[in-house]
């Protein structure tokens, strides 16, 4: 199908975009790369009255490292993340995850800000932001707000961003020494929406974890930071501790049923991913021998 009619404004600055959003509120939609917005409009799932195109705002584009922070502008495209030596060095989880986002032609247009503001529970970047302890920076006419990624995602396609604000950048802490990461998703084909996925960031201390952030996606209405990971930190992990964590994970997750998978299948696959992740990061093949309980 084709999108229904709308008015179009090409924003000339962030200030100009904010003026347009302030004037039109939720009747307006921000167009960044358009790789989620355009399908939704073509399918007539949404019919905004005004499109505010921020594509020309070069100030929102780019990746910079300052001190212990990697700052990524909202208009930075997936292909830019994938090719960035800074991201590969300081947030390798993000490099690995980005390769799973759709296909090359989509990655050439889609942006990090667009993906985060869209907040599809099956998408990779929101989960990575939570795993990496990112700060999401949004700007309104009254100034900037800095929102922890954990608090940013509030439901299916819902975030803490108001209709009068613009997501301008994200900040990630530079990966610490002894950091390790894991990313995997189950999907029907490479590039399809995940059936369930895991983005994990850890700090290793010898044979155990000093910190472990396990964030599941497509496992609920938003990225889920697994509380079960607490059972795996600062302890020597045995099959029994892992089984306990696995059970706790199953209790925390409340996956959706849809045409791709049932809730119980998603819960099972999430446990499989947790066991694989822990086993791989610790180099302990024995932990993955029997599969999840």
């Amino acid at each position: 199908m084709k999108a229904s009619a709308f008015s179009y404004a090409r924003a000339t600055s962030v200030g100009n975009a904010l003026e347009l959003l302030a004037a039109h509120g939720d009747k307006a939609k921000v167009l960044s790369g358009g790789q989620s917005l355009m399908p939704a409009m073509n399918l007539r799932l949404i019919s905004p009255e005004l499109i505010v195109d921020i594509g020309e705002l070069a100030e929102l584009r780019g990746i910079a490292v300052a001190g212990n922070v990697v700052k990524i502008g909202a208009l930075t495209r997936h292909v830019d993340l994938l090719r960035s030596p800074e991201v590969a060095a300081h947030a390798p989880l993000l490099t690995e995850a980005t390769a799973h986002i759709a296909h090359p032609a989509i990655r050439n247009r889609g942006t990090i800000g667009g993906s985060l503001a869209h907040a599809d529970p099956a998408s990779e970047l929101p989960a990575c932001m939570v795993a990496l302890n990112a700060t999401i920076i949004v700007r309104g006419q009254d100034g900037e707000r800095r929102i922890a990624a954990e608090d940013f995602f509030t439901g299916i396609y819902e975030t803490a961003l108001s209709a009068r604000e613009l997501l301008v950048a994200v900040e990630l802490p530079v990966a610490r020494k002894n950091s390790a990461h894991f990313f995997h998703e189950f999907a029907r084909r490479h590039g399809d929406y995940a059936v369930v996925g895991l983005a994990a960031q850890a700090i290793m201390a010898g044979d155990s974890f000093a910190d472990l952030r396990l964030v599941f996606f497509a496992a609920a209405d938003r990225p889920v930071l697994a509380r079960a990971a607490n059972k795996l930190v600062d302890v020597t992990i045995t099959p029994a501790t892992l089984a306990g964590a696995s059970m706790a994970l199953g209790e925390q997750l409340d996956p959706l049923d849809d045409q791709q998978a049932s809730a119980s299948m998603r819960r099972h696959l999430a446990k499989v991913l947790m066991v694989r992740c822990v086993s791989l990061l610790l180099g302990r093949a024995d932990l993955n021998a029997g599969g999840p309980v």
Binding site: S7, Y8, M38, D53, I106
Partner: protein, 161 residues
């Protein structure tokens, strides 16, 4: 109120000026305003890849880009790539390997395949599959397409060395 917007861009090297409604996507602009009907429209929501074109040298889905967004850009379609001879070897390999039947996916498939080929990577069927994973073909079962791209990659490597 929705009013036409003036755009100016290059299409296959030729300057184009037009007045377009904001809702018009690039695929329909190419097909209906410029009669460049080699760009095919399949799913209209970014899944099938039939509408793949190049904008500023990079492949994109033309159903997921508004014509107004192409203001100031350079667009290349299958007609441009075909007329310039850039993909004549790839097209010949598609014919030789029976890598098309109905032909609906072929323009998008050629755009995506050439995008992989021009990166100059060594022929690797898995990599080719990944690069073409966003393009649907409902006739061939893909094997012949991968064969054709692999054959072209080998031939081009041979020519370089």
């Amino acid at each position: 109120m929705t009013v036409p917007v003036q755009i100016s861009l290059a299409v296959n090297g030729e300057r184009v000026d037009a007045q377009v409604l904001p809702r018009l996507n690039l695929a329909d602009f190419l097909r209906e305003h410029l009669q460049l009907t080699g760009t095919h429209v399949g799913c209209e929501h970014g899944v099938c890849g039939a509408c793949t074109v190049r904008v500023n040298g990079e492949i994109v889905r033309s159903c997921l880009m508004l014509a107004v967004q192409t203001h100031g850009t350079s667009v290349q379609t299958i007609e441009g790539l075909s007329d310039s001879g850039e993909i004549s070897d790839l097209q010949a390999a598609f014919r030789d390997r029976n890598a098309l039947q109905c032909g609906f996916c072929t323009p998008g498939m050629l755009m995506a395949a050439q995008d992989w080929l021009k990166q100059g990577a060594a022929p690797d069927r898995q990599r080719i599959r990944e690069h073409l994973s966003g393009n649907y073909c409902r006739c061939t079962g893909y094997q012949a397409i991968i064969d054709a791209v692999e054959t072209t990659a080998r031939a081009r490597m041979g020519r370089k060395s």
